[in-house]
């Protein structure tokens, strides 16, 4: 291939597909390179699709996208070894004409999204791994090198959408290596059950879905969360903790998943299911402090490669799609104006991100990763204390309620002391502000 493309997009996940689609739709000459057999074959997510981010790219996506269930109920559980305490929110308002969130199966969804990219006119090359960026004498990125024979291709701009490991950027020296405390390792299984069994177990109708987000003793003191999502005929169940915590605590990830699956609150939900896949993936958790330089002469970074994950709200694919779209719009604008793809021009991408929910949300929670990292008791002491408090108050055993209240208060104070409790409240409130 000797032709020069307007843009090369590395990777075909949500950010790469969004970017390539918007670019191709505008008539630009786009090459997208994916290392998997097809878009989705290397990608792992829970997975929740956020309609709004996709609607801004493909307004009528509901017509043919492979969607599992729209979410009508959210459960937030805090687990200790025997119990869960938590909150549920379920609303018929989520049964709307254009639902807001769906569960999806990424291998199927990404394949669909990538078909749209092809239909929009992009050239998609799969089974090809990009090994490095090609720069000119002045350091401007002018193309990529791949593992194919004569696998050098050139473009005015290269968009790196190659996922959380962001190998291309770090090996080209334009981004620091990912640090173990800024990523979580998540392991996940797909459990298959008949559709009617899922619907009766979760008390939902044919198209309706439930999401359970979990924190507490299941992560054995490590910073992390677990999840359970209902698909049409399967349940996705997984758990993830910071890589630095795994390394320090020397816990086997598969053991952690087994422990979660065997928790008395979880076990009946997946009983009798057939497991058809076991996956592992990294999730960016470093928040705003871990976001790298996002653009330069001839290059941009989008999606997980840019660490765009809102760890608090478990959002990532929407940040990925939005960053991919904004990068594409920046390129289209520059092309229209006949400007070169240099840093001063591509800076408009950063500006657009700053003005969007992507950076605004990351900014809101910028302190949280550090707070959680230094306060592991949020994952150990509090789940236990909350469960004990609930059990104490609910068990009717002849003891008067005031004495029970005193017992609960005493348990909190003896575990964290007054100063510790106040500090926790302050730190958390500040981190969420």
């Amino acid at each position: 291939m000797s032709e020069t493309f307007d843009a090369i997009v590395i990777g075909a996940g949500p950010s790469g597909n969004a970017c390539a689609y918007v670019l191709a739709k505008s008539g630009l000459n786009v090459l997208q390179i994916e290392r998997g057999e097809y878009s989705g074959s290397k990608n792992v997510q829970g997975a929740i699709l956020y309609a709004d981010a996709l609607e801004r790219i493909i307004p009528d996506f509901r017509d043919d996208a492979p969607l599992e269930r729209h979410i009508v109920e959210q459960r937030m559980w805090i687990l200790d070894d025997k119990a869960h305490v938590g909150g549920h929110y379920r609303s018929d308002a989520f049964n709307e004409e254009r639902p807001n969130r769906y569960t999806i199966i990424r291998a199927q969804f990404d394949k669909w999204f990538n078909r749209k990219v092809r239909e929009a006119g992009a050239l998609v090359v799969c089974e090809t791994t990009v090994t490095e960026l090609i720069k000119d004498g002045k350091g401007k990125v002018i193309g990529v090198r791949t593992d194919r024979e004569d696998g050098e291709v050139y473009a005015d701009v290269v968009v790196m959408a190659d996922g959380v490991n962001a190998l291309v950027a770090s090996r080209s020296g334009i981004k620091k290596e990912v640090a173990p405390e800024t990523v979580a390792l998540a392991v996940k299984e797909m459990h298959f059950l008949p559709q009617d069994v899922i619907e009766s177990r979760f008390n939902i109708g044919e198209e309706e879905g439930v999401v359970i987000e979990v924190a507490g003793s299941v992560t054995v003191g490590m910073v992390g969360t677990a999840f359970l999502y209902t698909n049409k005929e399967s349940i996705a169940i997984g758990i993830g903790c910071l890589v630095s915590d795994f390394a320090e605590a020397q816990v086997r990830p598969a053991f952690l998943l087994e422990k979660f699956k065997n928790h008395p609150s979880i076990k009946p939900l997946i009983a009798g299911s057939e497991v058809k896949e076991y996956a592992a993936h990294l999730i960016p958790e470093g928040g705003l402090p871990a976001v790298p330089q996002l653009y330069g002469d001839g290059w941009m970074i989008v999606g997980d490669a840019a660490q765009f994950v809102n760890a608090v709200h478990r959002e990532g694919s929407n940040l990925a799609m939005t960053s991919g779209r904004l990068a594409a719009e920046t390129i289209i604008e520059a092309k229209k104006a006949g400007k070169p793809m240099v840093a001063s021009v591509l800076a408009a991408y950063k500006k657009a991100l700053d003005d969007s929910f992507v950076i605004k949300d990351l900014h809101k929670y910028r302190r949280l990763p550090k707070v959680l990292h230094h306060n592991k008791h949020f994952f150990t002491d509090y789940p236990r204390l909350l469960s004990q408090a609930a059990e104490t108050m609910l068990r009717v055993d002849g003891e008067d309620k005031r004495s029970k209240e005193k017992k609960v208060t005493k348990a909190f104070r003896s575990t964290r002391r007054l100063g510790g409790l106040l500090g926790d409240v302050f730190n958390l409130a500040r981190a969420f502000r």
């Binding site: 997510q45 390792l185 797909m190 020397q250 422990k259 896949e277 996956a279 993936h281």
Partner: protein
Amino acid sequence: MQEISIKVEEKLYQNRYMVDEGRPHISVKPHTQPTEALASLVKICPAGCYSRTETGQVEVAPDGCLECGTCRIVCAATGDIEWNYPRGGYGILFKFG
């Protein structure tokens, strides 16, 4: 804590792979004593690709690799391993992801 026995190999049997025979995408650099980071991989690799030899070295058999990158990141500072993505088209093929 309740004892739970797990065999990662049994989990991996459910997955689809296209193994690039004779071209492992991860290798461990020769060593006599593994660093702490390298030794930790025996436990924390989610696919159980790392093991100890009888003489105490750490070795890798990346056929069941899930390509998460955990080992790469843990050993980035020590340089104990050489890590690349498999050649295009090879490696794990997620059916569901």
